[in-house]
Amino acid sequence: SAVISQKPSRDICQRGTSLTIQCQVDSQVTMMFWYRQQPGQSLTLIATANQGSEATYESGFVIDKFPISRPNLTFSTLTVSNMSPEDSSIYLCSVGTGTDTQYFGPGTRLTVL
């Protein structure tokens, strides 16, 4: 399986600001995904990060709020824009392997005050 890192591991931010989360993989992967895990909840898919094209967003998530970049096959960023306390969550990236299995990064714990 791939080795996946995320930065930052945690952050505390003020409302109205933005935070960019980085996801780095140690090998080239075709598929990268971003998930949100709200406190005490399960994981919800935000979007699929497509290399060389715009991300594909799930219902309820929009590009203006969660812009995503995927400049190459080993790296992606997720920005949480104009944050409010409701954005306090764990944000996780995952990568898809050729076997349809996804492996996850360690997550970024975001607290918005």
């Binding site: 699929t48 349809d100 996804q102 997550g107």
Partner: protein, 115 residues
Amino acid sequence: AQTVTQSQPEMSVQEAETVTLSCTYDTSESNYYLFWYKQPPSRQMILVIRQEAYKQQNATENRFSVNFQKAAKSFSLKISDSQLGDTAMYFCAFTPSGGADGLTFGKGTHLIIQP
């Protein structure tokens, strides 16, 4: 759209016992994959086991095995000889075959192994 349901919010067993976590799903896909992930307090999502829907044989990984009933759309996880380190949230997840889709997760089961 697919749904994944885990009806046991929390379970507690004694160390060394066997425990079964339940998961049902609904989909119109003909080929797909099912997974169990473990999330300890560190919040790292760890793959426990995967099952390909077209395979009749139930997957096993050491102390972990599944009971996959395709017609009933059921996918339960059995943990044998449970250990304290098995204490975690367990999530059942689904994805259509092809690798281009994200995972749909159940709400999770909090498993507590008592010493």
